[in-house]
Amino acid sequence: MATTKLTPEVDPLLQAAANAAPAAGTETVQMPVGVPGYTLRQEPRQVPVTEPPVLPVNKDLQYIGKSPTRWDSHAKVSGTARYTYDMQLPGMLYAKFVCASVPHARIVSVDTSEAEKLPGVKGVYVVQHLLGGAVLRNPSLDPSKYPIVRYAGQPVAAVAATHPHIAEQAAQLVKVQYDAKPFVVDMTQARQPNSPQVFPGPADQAGSAGGGGGPHDVPQTGNVHGPSIHKKGDPEQGFKDADVIVEGKYTTQVQVHNALETHGVVADWKPDLLTVWASTQGTASVRDELAAYFKMPKSQIRVITEFMGGGFGAKFGAGNPGVVAAQLSKQTGAPVWLMLDRKQEQLSAGNRPSSDQTLRIGAKKDGTITAMQLISYGTAGCGTGAGCAGPVTHLYDSPNLHTEENDVFINAGPAAAFRAPGHPQGAFALEQSIDELANKLNMDPIDLRDKIDSNPVRRVERQIIRESALWKSRNPKPGAGAGSGYLKRGVGLSQSVWYRFIRMDSSAEVRVHRDGSIEVLSAVQDIGTGIKTVMAQVLAEQFGVPPQQIAVKIGDTNYPIGPNSGGSVTTASLTPAVRDAAWQASQKFLASIAPALNTTADDLVLTGGEVRSKSGKLQPVSFRRAAKKMDTDVVSAQAKRIPDYDPAKYDTYGGVDVAEVEVDTEMGLIHVKRIFAVHDCGRPMNPMQVKNQINGGLIQGISYALYENRLLDPKFGYMVNPNLDMYKIAGPRDIPQLDVHVIESYIGQSSTDASGIGEAAGVMSAAAAIANAFHNATGVRIRSTPMTPAVVLEALKQAPQRSETA
């Protein structure tokens, strides 16, 4: 999501209707709001009369807020779950990309004749329109028959053959003639006026359903796309008014998503229907891009995602694999499998941009912030989206703010939205600066944040941390490190913020059959977060039967529209629609059986697996037996997401993380010993799954902080570590004890009151928390990631910054 955007994604018409309170057909209801044990209270909300009754807090519910076994855990653990990668259809062909072998060039010609002659080859396609990356505002600046090559590894053509090895061999037979152009892969160099230019003029990248992409209305000078400037108040005066100013330069690396399942699809183009199995975060997004690309009606495309092996923000739309596989299937009349290999995945399927930030914060002696200023540069390769002003804009109260974000083009694969775009970078700088400010003011970092952060939920989270044994064990004096000899122990904290985005394209249908079986259908995909299980829980709560009895059918555009899973929207967007559909279906069900039971629907309730009579007119009957009385074989209801009840309130959420580290000062190794993470996500629908997300977010954050780094050879422009052994991702022994504390934070916004968690899951704050712990341990600031031994030893050469202690 664009960092500065705070408005939830809602249909403006619906929003206008919602705002016109008190609208006809609404009523005022009391809803639980706040954190149980701290701030829980009832608040009124104006709610459509068609909404189901208000849900009480989790402890008063039977299935929601509990953690039943994950719907798909057995299939995943036993290997029976079928991913797109595993798809095999009769007569299926395997396709392989031919990728550019130079970082910047005009393609003169593509000779596919040798490849076509290879036995087993059924189709060859030369890419005509490339998806992803920035596009020239004035395309005529770069006339070319084929897409200009802007990075090594860019898809140029593809071949489809009866066997993957034949396809691979054929791909090597395609001869591409390049007219090579000068290139640049180093961001510092790319900022120089005499640098080779990635684009001959201004170019912009569109965001995806997962966000990403940069601003379009900014200047461009050479490779520098920006600045995108935001100003609030009078920053200059703010700095004049400050008693203390902290200023620092921070750099972060490019991180690659590297989901375990690579990008790709299996496409089966039949005359009246294109069926696509896709590893995607948005079945609808794949369908929509294919419909636009091939100019065909949405109704003739079906996208299926039964299981998918991770996306982290980079898997929206059909992308190059999707359109090329569909094209090859159309050409050959056979289904086509096209999944990227690991190298292609790293080169062409997205990444988190780097950053080079200069951050200044001015404050009064009591901590009150007077001004903040962030100037950032970052590279999203041949795309945009490197802005990282989100945290500085949204975490703290400052009357005066000035941010300038710049994208710097280099000849590398375009970035894509990546789990909290811009935030890990931004938080790394901001949260260290706040820590530095606390040291300068001789204040406790939690006290300072209590002063400058008015968010009521984070206040509770900080309170929980303040009372924790881990925080109490922290030696407030930087560098005093409780450890002995070369091992120094430290504890540090970081906060994070994310936005409450809601996607209105979220619908579900609930059906009750006369045999007593219940099912729920939605096109939503489960990207590994567990929405299937949560949907079953919502139905279980409504019908009073265990979640195991609910059939959940998702991941198919034949079902009602589901939200694209980006921006942490899925649970928050879809579950209210599911609950509304379940509520309506249950009402219809009761109406359908009431006559046969000689009573009325409003006399009946569903609970404990039974239909019971409020008046006591009849004995409880099991749900299954009652269903036999239905006057038709199936009752169903479909519902869509309605706008949040009070969208002006609670537009962000987040968490606070504390890291404990031990620094081996001789080896330059940072051992993360423990992370204590306190997070909120509205109503936790399934606390175990929320914890899973936070565990994963923290691990990804640690991995970003210490290990991951996309490395491009500066002279040749090739990535030197496009595999999973030299592109280093945290492994089992690198993962510390993770103590995750999920708080219930009711906000009274929908019929389930859920928020998201995927992004506010520690991935934003881990690096900053570790760096603050490092400073606490050693008295030295480390301002660059990944914090490898080389970086740590270099940092330790500086004398501890006495200036940070008052």
């Binding site: 330059g668 051992h671 500066p714 040749f716 030197v720 945290a730 030893l793």
Partner: protein, 333 residues
Amino acid sequence: MKQFTLADCTTESAALSQLNGGAVVKAGGVDLLDLMKSGLIAPSRLVNIRNISGMNGIQSTPDGLKIGALTTLAEISENPEIKSQYAILSDACGHAATPHIRNMATLGGNLLQQNRCWYFRSDDFACLKKGKDVCFAFDGLNQYHAIFDNGTCPSVAPSSAAVALLGLNANVELSSAKRGKRTVALKDFYVKPEVNPMTRTVIQPDELLTAVTVPKPASGTRSAYQKYGDKKSFDWAIADAGVVLEMNGNICRKAAIVMGAASPVVRRSPEAEAVLQGKPITEETARAAGKAAMQGAQPLSMNGYKVQLFPVAIYRTILLAAGQMGRDPSAAG
């Protein structure tokens, strides 16, 4: 990957008879498949030796040990005799790579795996080690490269087992159909890039490495190996150290100090060994030895930090061998 035929052999002689016409041996396949998948080698025939029963297992002999080339790293690391008498070897095999790789990886394959260098291992770069005349690491990204003997090809020696076995003065047994058996001391087994960057060892294409023999250590010998990486799991060494101390009471009679990831060929440090000889093992002497081991180091543009890491790896491993320090929690594997 190109198509190939697979010759699945169950006897040494059957395997040897297949080793011609560009055939390549497959043991655990861990390194081999990586090389094939990235297109660095494309053999027309793979000779699977994994199922040869006679090349397996650990034998205790009056002179020491004989370890079959197909013995896995996991088996070696768990062997009680090796644990107590040859700790450096169980340490090395027990902390190389990851548990699942150690279950697949064989001792022979571990000694014969190719060097680490991302330019060599990438099909985007045709370098010295692939028969071309340029090394990309000198002007490129060389943070993981060699700090010694790096004038021709600064790739680094990958094998943890080789570090241990060099310290233990081991020999390897080679066998060919035409020329029969021969024994080569491990110190003469590896070929420096100056001599030939393309051949890593003296083994010939028609030869099998059948076993490794390790002489019995002198009484009073204590030894250890430790490896350090950016990460603790699933990572290569950025610094490692193998230490063998022949002790007489607290006095070190003789020492072997070995480094792996410092140079293209596993390297003993006579300078470090000299520091310890005839001295008691203390933190001070151990640190002095570590420092001495860096004499002559010539770091490249980005790997200067390794010159700082090796002395630490060495002193801590000396103290571990001498029983004066536990296994270092900072060590990897």
